[in-house]
C-alpha cells in the first residue's frame, strides 16, 4: 500500500520554552486508509504532532509528506476536527458544512446538497437549520466531522474530538465514527488520552511519552470491529499500555 503520511526526523521546540523539545526527532509512516491513534498523557507532544501534520505549526527539523507532497501549510485536503468542535457560531449546521465545501470551489447549491448528504451521514438529517448552540456537545462534534468530510480530505486529523463529552455520548460517538469511517474510508490520525477509545478505534496505537515527545510503544490491533470491551485480547492490551503509561515498562 502507498504511504499516506510519511514523517521523518520530525522535531519541534518552541522559542519561548527552554528544556527538552516538545517533540523529539520522530519517524512514522501511515498507510492509506489506516486508522492510527496517538495516545499519551497531556504534554507528550501528540497534539503538536497532529498540528504539524495539519500544517498549523512549522517543524523545527525533519519533514512531513502527505500523499507524497511536503506539507507547507494548512488546507489542501487535510481535514481537522478539534476538541471544542470549533464550529462557527454564526452559521447554521448546514452553512458550517457548506463553508468547507465552498472553499474548495464547490458551487453554492451543490455545497448545500453536499451538506445535507453529510448531515444525513452523521445522523443529523433535518438539523441543518440549527445553530451550534442549539445542538448538544455530541451533535456539535457530528457536525464538525461532517464539516471536515466536506473538504473531501485525503486524511482526517482528529484532536481529542470526544474529550469534552460524557462517557455515554463518547461511546456512542466512537461507534458513529467507525460507521462513518466504514462508509467514507479515510486515513485517520486520532489523538486521545483514553486508552479504551484507542483500543475500540485503532488499527494501530502509538503510545507517546513527553520531553522529548517520542513513541514508546506501538501495537497493531487486527481485531474486527465493532469490538467488545470484554474481549480478552483488548484487556491484555489495556494492561500493557497502562503499564507503559505509568512508566513500569
Amino acid at each position: 500500500m502507498a504511504a499516506a503520511i510519511e514523517i521523518s526526523g520530525l522535531a519541534k521546540s518552541f522559542a519561548h520554552d527552554p528544556g527538552p523539545p516538545v517533540l523529539g526527532a520522530v519517524d512514522l509512516g501511515i498507510e492509506e486508509n489506516e486508522f492510527v491513534v496517538l495516545l499519551g498523557r497531556s504534554g507528550c507532544g501528540k497534539t503538536t504532532l497532529l498540528n504539524l501534520v495539519a500544517g498549523l505549526e512549522t517543524p523545527s527539523a525533519g519533514r512531513i509528506l502527505v500523499g507524497g507532497t511536503p506539507v507547507t501549510g494548512p488546507g489542501g485536503g487535510k481535514g481537522m476536527v478539534f476538541q471544542q468542535g470549533a464550529l462557527f457560531p454564526w452559521l447554521t449546521a448546514r452553512r458550517n458544512i457548506a463553508f468547507a465545501a465552498r472553499n474548495r470551489g464547490v458551487a453554492s447549491a451543490e455545497a448545500d446538497r453536499l451538506a445535507d448528504e453529510l448531515l444525513a451521514l452523521v445522523g443529523l438529517a433535518g438539523a441543518g437549520h440549527k445553530y451550534p448552540f442549539e445542538l448538544s456537545g455530541g451533535m456539535q462534534q457530528r457536525v464538525a466531522i461532517a464539516r471536515a468530510l466536506a473538504l473531501d480530505p485525503k486524511i482526517l486529523l482528529m484532536d481529542e474530538p470526544f474529550g469534552a463529552l460524557d462517557e455515554i455520548t463518547r461511546n456512542e460517538m466512537q461507534d458513529e465514527l467507525l460507521r462513518v469511517w466504514a462508509q467514507r474510508r479515510k486515513t485517520v490520525v486520532f489523538v486521545t488520552h483514553s486508552i479504551w477509545e484507542g483500543l475500540i478505534l485503532a488499527d494501530r496505537i502509538l503510545v507517546m511519552a513527553p520531553r522529548p515527545g517520542r513513541f514508546v510503544l506501538e501495537r497493531r490491533i487486527d481485531l474486527p470491529r465493532p469490538r467488545r470491551r470484554s474481549d480478552p485480547a483488548l484487556i491484555a492490551l489495556y494492561d500493557e499500555i497502562w503499564a507503559c503509561l505509568r512508566g513500569d515498562a
Binding site: 462557527f88 454564526w90 445553530y131
Partner: protein
C-alpha cells in the same frame, strides 16, 4: 405568562407608589415645590412645554429632536472612525501594545473637561457639541472593538485555515462575524455615553436642545422644567437602548439566543 405580567406590574406598582408619596409629601407641605415640584406640576409643565415651549416658541419636541440629532451624529462619527481603527489595532499585537496606554488615558479623561478646548477648536456652533459627544463615544467604541478582535476564539481561525481560508477571507468571514456581538454591545454602551455627555455639551452657545433647556430653566429657577428635561433625556436614552437591543437580537441571533438559553 403570570411571571411576565408580574415582571411588568411590580415595577409599575413601585413607580406609582413612589409618585404617590411624592405628590402627597408636596401637598402636605413636607417638600417645598420649588425644590421638588410634585408630579402633577411636572405633568402640567410638560403639556406647557409641548404646546408653548421654553423659551417661548421652542417646544420640547424641537429641543428633543435637536438633541437626538446631535447624539446620533456624534455617535455615528465615533463608530465610523473607531471600528476600522479598532479592528486594525486589535489584529496587530504590536500596535495594540503601542496604543494601549494612549487608549486607556484618553478614555479616562472626563469628556466635559474638554469643553473649553472644544470651544476654542470648533467655536460655539454644532462642531464643538458633536466633537464632545463623538469623543466620549469614540474611546468607548475603540476599546470595545480592540477587545472584540482580541477575544475571537483562536480555534475558529485555526479551523478556517484547515479549510483553505486565509488572509482577507479569514478577516471577512471569521473575524468580522465573530466580533459582531461585541461590536454591537460596544455601540450600545457608547450611545449611553452620548446621552451622558449631551447636557454638558449643550450648556454653551445654544438655546436649543434638552441640555440647554435644562440650563436655561435653572437661571429662571424653573426646577419643574429642569426635571421634565431630565426625564425626557432618560426616556430617549431608554428607548435608544431598547432599539439597539432589538437590533442586536436581529443581527446576531446566535448570540442573543445563546444568552437567553444560559439565563
Amino acid at each position: 405568562m403570570r411571571a411576565r405580567a408580574a415582571e411588568i406590574l411590580v415595577p409599575l406598582a413601585v413607580l406609582a407608589a413612589f409618585l404617590g408619596t411624592w405628590e402627597y409629601a408636596a401637598a402636605a407641605g413636607w417638600l417645598r415645590p420649588i425644590r421638588f415640584p410634585p408630579p402633577s406640576r411636572l405633568a402640567g409643565s410638560f403639556v406647557d412645554l409641548a404646546f408653548h415651549g421654553f423659551p417661548e416658541g421652542i417646544t420640547i419636541w424641537v429641543h428633543a429632536a435637536i438633541t437626538v440629532q446631535r447624539i446620533l451624529a456624534g455617535h455615528a462619527l465615533a463608530l465610523a472612525l473607531a471600528i476600522p481603527l479598532g479592528l486594525l489595532i486589535g489584529s496587530h499585537a504590536l500596535l495594540d501594545r503601542m496604543t494601549a496606554p494612549v487608549v486607556a488615558f484618553c478614555r479616562s479623561v472626563a469628556t466635559l473637561s474638554l469643553l473649553p478646548l472644544a470651544l476654542v477648536w470648533f467655536g460655539t456652533g454644532e462642531g464643538a457639541k458633536i466633537f464632545l459627544i463623538g469623543y466620549g463615544c469614540f474611546w468607548v467604541m475603540l476599546s470595545a472593538t480592540i477587545a472584540a478582535v482580541k477575544l475571537v476564539d483562536p480555534v475558529l481561525i485555526r479551523a478556517a485555515r484547515t479549510m483553505d481560508t486565509g488572509g482577507w477571507a479569514i478577516f471577512l468571514r471569521v473575524v468580522l462575524p465573530a466580533t459582531l456581538p461585541r461590536l454591537l454591545s460596544g455601540a450600545r454602551i457608547a450611545l449611553g455615553v452620548g446621552f451622558m455627555v449631551i447636557v454638558g455639551a449643550e450648556m454653551i452657545g445654544t438655546i436649543r436642545g434638552l441640555g440647554s433647556l435644562i440650563m436655561e430653566a435653572r437661571t429662571f429657577y424653573r426646577t419643574d422644567i429642569t426635571m421634565v428635561g431630565m426625564l425626557c433625556i432618560g426616556a430617549f436614552g431608554l428607548a435608544a437602548m431598547a432599539a439597539l437591543e432589538w437590533l442586536e437580537a436581529r443581527l446576531v441571533p446566535w448570540q442573543a439566543r445563546a444568552e437567553a438559553q444560559t439565563r
